[in-house]
Symmetry: C2
Subunit: 415 residues, 2 copies
């Protein structure tokens, strides 16, 4: 079955908007073992829109048309599809009543322009919209299916969950299972070397590498025409091979990021952490506290941008800073030990470095970052040189700090 | 001139990847007064790919085909376009030499698979790729233009900047000028009310509202078939009307976010700021320090998640916390005054609230956030109830804090 997604809306052809509905549709179709053959993004202009519908109707077996069901003059999806199918639009009194009621519940009167949202293509089934005014439409023509859906994600998704996916479940031809392994501490080419030979050669499985500085994701998918368990087995077999090769480079296989993994360990052990940040400027704390419930193990954070703050807040000695500089292994270590002591936490994390774009020297270039971890037994410090702009250096610094804590927690868990 | 963008790559039809090259292409085409009529995203599968090329070749006058120029078996753009145009591919020895050299410079030998990147469609012009191996191709057929470009953004963009835009400049039919007004402190429906009647009715101008919690952007564009100055004038005329209506709700008209605007004011006045965060967990510091050079005015930050930290670090009295709770106007005020005093800064910003998803009560629900600003003259505190998930509550809290500082700095600048 060949599936097209046709996203309608002139704003989607500007540099400011991305079509995101198709990502949701693709994910849920994949869950049903169905793949998308093409995505087409088209404006509201009548001729172009009709042409695109005509093209997809000729090429695909199932077409999802998203957007263009609003009340304004620019909303022409209904008309365009009706025209291409050469079917009239029929006005449905009951849909109009439902729309009017929706306005009344908010103490408003329905503007006359909404009237056209009650028009359904002949032979089309109404897909009730519990989250908005425009209903979806399900039209079957010549063994092909055209599904019209409103563009706002909450409306589109609620219609799909209630009325589309249960129905397509019966047309399921195969089962698809996905797994994402997140890794850190390895470059893309190093990782490619490590997983050499593991790219699946069978058509039932796929492995895609999604790399960004500081984190590389391995997306595994497998399908089976027989049963979900077989697809699951195929996915897991490949995941198992990758785990053998990558070992502790893998952060998680359930979508969790470093801050969540670290949080799980800390919670399980009943331990606490505090952080002292210079060049990351709050990013490390921000990430740790993005996790719901992080107040159980995150005690506090210090953003000590100035030398004075490093001395006053963390008890770093001015001699250390004078002798080695604020960006040094010695200062990072003193910050980590200092924040642990001040906060009374089990672990102290510290970052100091040069995020750029200015502030670098020949000896201490932009991207030079020291990350340190203090616990009751030792202080560890690492020297890193990160590439990229300010934001990338900051992200990689936070990754490295969190990964040092993760590795220490893993060691302890293994003791 | 009807322009299509055809993005090639099976990964773009998964839920994990978005085509972003088209956003860049659209932006730069718009700059030349050219608009995109459709974007098509298609996989590597031969028949689908050829079909899509054929469709676009029939419908459009200019087609940008991005991706699928790599060395692997899955890279079939060259072959598909050649097939549709019914033109042979010619091997270019000089391109192969350039690719080989590129590998040698990195101390590597070119794999044989890269050989096909030296194949050019008959009649096609080579667009040299200074950032990668696959050159682009510019093919003119029957008054139509097909441009093949490599998918990696750095390669695509460097080819476009050097070889495409200068060439299209001569085909310019109109001038387009854009401006973005960023606003905060207003809901989408309030804003729609304020700008009622300002949506342009002339076809030369466009106004698009892009809303997210805590920030709404107004995208204005205008074009002129005669000269850039006319487009500029039309844009500015609408921007002027919007400024009259929206006043200080507008943060910037040059793309700057709140943290940059606040930074500019502080730098100009030679003043400094420090922050104390509870529920934002570092986001406020993170945003302030994302700005290059922020170390000139950002002194330090305290992430005081626990009551003990609020007391020990900021000097908040335990009586205040006991009497009013950690999430209260009184505690927020004490935090702002405390951080200003401790850091010795001109301004102290503080946030305390309940970001959720848990921790809310009937009296103090999730989303309740107090933001406070202390300066030498007064302490201001605001009570907010923000909607949305944890991350949205945190973002809106940071927006509100930064906006309080912006407004205070504007007042002082006006004194």
């Amino acid at each position: 079955m060949k599936i097209h997604i046709l996203a309608v809306g002139s704003e989607l052809l500007t540099p400011f908007f991305q079509d995101t509905d198709s990502l949701y549709l693709t994910r849920r179709l994949n869950d049903l073992g169905l793949e998308v053959a093409a995505k087409i993004i088209i404006g509201d202009e009548r001729e172009n829109l009709q042409n695109a519908v005509r093209r997809s109707f000729a090429d695909a077996d199932m077409i999802f048309v998203t957007g263009g069901l609003g009340p304004t003059d620019d909303d022409r999806t209904r008309e365009a599809v009706a025209e291409v199918l050469n079917r009239p639009l029929h006005f449905h009194e009951d849909i109009l009543r439902a729309i009017e009621k929706r306005f009344l519940r908010r103490g408003k009167v329905m503007p006359p322009s909404n009237r056209k949202q009650a028009e359904i293509i002949e032979g089309g089934e109404v897909l009730a919209n519990s989250a908005g005014t425009a209903p979806g439409q399900w039209i079957e023509v010549e063994e092909k299916t055209i599904i019209l859906l409103p563009g706002p994600p909450s409306e589109l998704q609620s219609i799909c969950e209630a009325l589309i996916w249960p129905r397509l479940e019966s047309r399921r031809r195969s089962f698809l299972v996905r797994k994402v392994l997140k890794t850190t501490g390895v470059t893309e080419s190093e990782l490619e070397g490590l997983i050499d030979g593991l790219y699946p050669r069978d058509p039932e499985r796929r492995l895609t590498v999604l790399a960004s500085p500081g984190q590389i994701e391995l997306h595994i998918s497998a399908f089976s025409t027989r049963q979900a368990a077989e697809a699951e087995f195929r996915t897991e077999a490949l995941a198992g091979e990758l785990r053998k090769r990558l070992g502790t480079l893998i952060i998680s296989d359930d979508g969790a990021d470093l801050e969540e993994i670290v949080g799980r360990y800390l919670r399980r052990r009943g331990e606490t952490a505090a952080v002292a940040e210079s060049c990351t400027g709050g990013l490390l704390s921000r990430r740790l506290t993005l996790v719901p419930g992080s107040s159980d193990y995150f005690l506090e954070g210090f953003i000590t941008y100035t030398n004075k703050a490093k001395i006053d807040r963390l008890g770093v000695s001015s001699e250390i800073i004078e002798a080695h500089g604020a960006v040094s292994a010695e200062t990072a270590s003193a910050m980590a030990a200092g924040v642990r002591h001040k906060a009374g936490s089990d672990y102290g994390l510290a970052v100091t470095g040069i995020a750029g774009p200015t502030g670098g020297t020949a000896e201490k270039p932009v991207g030079l970052v020291f990350t340190a971890l203090a616990d009751g037994e030792a202080i560890r410090v690492e020297k890193n040189i990160f590439l990229g702009d300010r934001s990338r250096v900051q992200f990689q610094s936070a990754q490295k700090s969190l990964d040092m804590l993760r590795r220490r927690l893993m060691e302890k868990a293994a003791e």
